[in-house]
Symmetry: C2
Subunit: 447 residues, 2 copies
């Protein structure tokens, strides 16, 4: 069977499309196969009844996300700042507090506990090598424990632990008990620190995409050969190439790049079978748990009340919100996240029941006008057959130190890409893009 393409790329998310784009730019022929009827992976635009576009998947880009910013510019998509004016809201012990800037008005002893812990974690994170987290001086010790264990030993006050738990849920879509401390520290270093992960202005939530983040993928796909509705079942390698078998036929390349979440890559059938060591790594890379929820109003009424739309709550189930209104202010959109334990509980409810619980939170945070949205939209990524959880993955305790070296290494003619493979901004669009570029370079070197 003769190769139809130099490289077959499995998965038309940001990583796969970027890999395909870079390969094409370098003169290689590429076939992209995608399980879904659309491109974009975990970026997904949704058209509201009022005609505005919002994203039910990833939606932000921030400073230092150089590869994603460069790609965005290259394909001609514009960005604009996330709405970030006015006071933030903080719910604690059943009471709403308003504050300006990054630091809520709470008991100074609690605040000090939080800030000191954050400083220590940032300092620890900087000792974790991004290309080889298992080589950190204390890698073993950190990989043998969860973030929960560290918080319990190192943060004295319970409210401080609750605030840091909220931060963990918001970034990892997982509870502190789910996440290896080493993975937490790697991921933090990969983003440049906890503030970079948490912040709106100056951080990962700084900017949004005109036309929705999926537009970047849609634009790339226009110039590529993408086979949609083609779930891959088997990838076979032989002496001259790779055969990718999908539900819409076989595709043959000299090499392949598998650009889907590692856990899903572990679910494909490989011939010859995946080496045991890498297979066991993939068994330890569970995707996070998140439901993204939006309520649409005629206007962003909270702005008139001097509120930014950014609320945090220790009560939940929505523990974090943003103002997600369209850039022309033609409507008001509140965005709330259900993350970690809250997502796991609420993904089992029907949408009407979930809507009731989410709108109840919005109403507590922003007043009675939040109770009557024009429209409600949500997306639970655990239910998505071709993602099975967001944002990225949480490597289990022991995973990085026992198996980490198998993550990025090619297996014969197969390379790997996706946000989970990113060295910088792992788990983010930027990590997806850079992983696609790295996989493309590696494929080119071996064509």
């Amino acid at each position: 069977m003769a190769p139809e393409a130099d490289v077959v790329v499995v998965g038309a998310g940001l990583a796969g499309l970027t890999a395909a784009r870079r390969l094409t730019q370098a003169g290689a022929s590429v076939k992209v196969v995608e399980a879904r009827d659309r491109v974009g992976g975990r970026t997904l635009n949704h058209k509201l009844a009022n005609g505005n576009v919002v994203e039910v998947g990833g939606q932000w880009v921030g400073p230092t996300q150089h590869r994603m910013l460069a790609l965005t510019q290259e394909v001609g998509v514009e960005i604009y700042p996330t709405y970030d004016r006015g006071e933030n809201a903080f719910e604690w012990n059943g009471e709403m507090r308003r504050y300006e800037g990054a630091i809520p008005k709470i008991n100074p002893a609690v605040l000090l506990d939080v800030l000191q812990a954050q400083k220590r974690l940032d300092r620890m994170a900087r000792t974790v090598p991004l290309d080889a987290p298992w080589r950190a001086p204390k890698a073993r010790q950190w990989d043998n424990q969860t973030v929960w264990s560290w918080l319990r030993r190192n943060v004295a006050s319970r409210p401080a632990r609750e605030i840091l738990t909220l931060g963990c849920e918001a970034v990892w879509a997982a509870a502190p008990g789910d996440v290896s401390l080493l993975h937490f520290l790697f991921y933090t270093h990969s983003a440049g620190g906890l503030d970079a992960l948490f912040d709106t202005a100056g951080g990962a939530q700084e900017s949004r995409f005109h036309g929705g983040s999926q537009l970047v993928s849609l634009k790339m796909a226009e110039e590529l050969d993408v086979e949609l509705d083609a779930p891959v079942r088997t990838i076979a390698q032989d002496g001259s190439g790779v055969t990718v078998r999908t539900e819409r036929g076989e595709f043959r390349g000299r090499r392949a790049i598998v650009a889907i979440p590692p856990m899903l890559a572990g679910r494909l059938v490989y011939d010859p079978p995946m080496p045991g060591h890498r297979d066991q790594l993939l068994q330890r890379m569970a995707q996070g748990s998140v439901i993204k929820c939006m309520a649409v109003y005629p206007e962003a009424f909270w702005r008139g009340d001097g509120l930014s739309g950014q609320a945090t709550s220790l009560e939940g189930p929505v523990k974090l919100t943003f103002d997600n209104s369209p850039p022309d202010d033609s409507a008001g959109v509140l965005l709330g996240f259900l993350e970690g334990p809250q997502a796991r509980r609420l993904t089992r409810l029907d949408q009407a029941e979930r809507r009731r619980l989410v709108i109840d939170c919005f109403t507590r945070f922003f007043g009675p006008r939040a109770a009557v949205p024009e429209e409600y939209v949500d997306r639970s990524w655990a239910e998505e057959e071709y993602t099975r959880g967001c944002y990225g993955c949480g490597v289990a305790t022991g995973g990085w130190t026992e198996f980490g070296d198998a993550l990025r290494a090619p297996i014969g003619r197969l390379g790997w890409a996706g946000a989970e493979y990113g060295v910088v901004w792992n788990g983010y669009m930027d990590g997806a893009v850079s992983s696609g570029e790295t996989a493309a370079q590696e494929a080119l070197r071996n064509l």
Copy 2:
């Protein structure tokens, strides 16, 4: 499409075959489909050059394993005691010590530390409900931390922690840092305590099977309709039944029982797709890491030296051995385990290199005659495409409390079986058998 059978069973290991046997005995028609060219799953006989049969998979049965013992008797397989006479050996700080009974001659302070920790863990384990570990009074706290974290906080001396680490590796085929404390306690309670897990006489290693453990499965299969070489790829449910699509055609039943390790069950394609909550559970159930190694000698020479063949070592890579000679004493067989970190390191070597390291351990433990075996056999279960790790699975931290209720619940017309679903002796043959019996009863109730 008309049902060909009342129930299609996926997987011809002990759980699947037992389910099929019980269904057949109750008058239901059953089709069993199996990916491999053989039955038995994680039990696998191997014929040595000298004609003796040894097992490269699970091989022991012990007291209180009532369902496995009953099945063994029912199919007419005989058991006999594991060789357990003479002195045991213990390697510590490069030195071999010999001792009688269960307790090595080491520093009494270290020993006290070990015994006290074991007593506390046993007491904690008894508070974990076997059918619902997430309902233990301290379930959250225990599931949020690893066994490593608990040992570090509760066991003062490092050698005591090393001995308990060896115990964890030997039972869970995982390092203490890999395993949720709640999972460890559930599993311990499920077996009836740590001694039941660790012990030869009176414990899980008490007896062996004449003809090899796989014989139980082989005998069951003789009376069943088993389709071999039929890896299942898709399981589709509709209003009247289940269609199981394999590489050797489709099989239709009114119900199906999926009797493979949970992680592998997560790799099948379901139509309709698996609910997100259960899918995310399966992402958190990684299989353990173990390589079973045997060296064959003309006779069991260590017996003449007054040794039992049971050695433990804190040095490794082989940390645990047994006398695995045939019951007629016609040869000597030493059995060594590479478990957890040791298995992960050595599964990446070629067999000749691994053999060298294993035989070097045997020689340290049993003297120079161990250096020249007639034959060497090993099996790394991570490499097995249709198992991907043994013994059972280690639920990740947070797994039981966040997702545990999804483990055993049927999804429509699909039930689940396998050692990982067992309530009693989870992870053992006995747990596999009882899980198969439970799944059969549940299917019968719903036919």
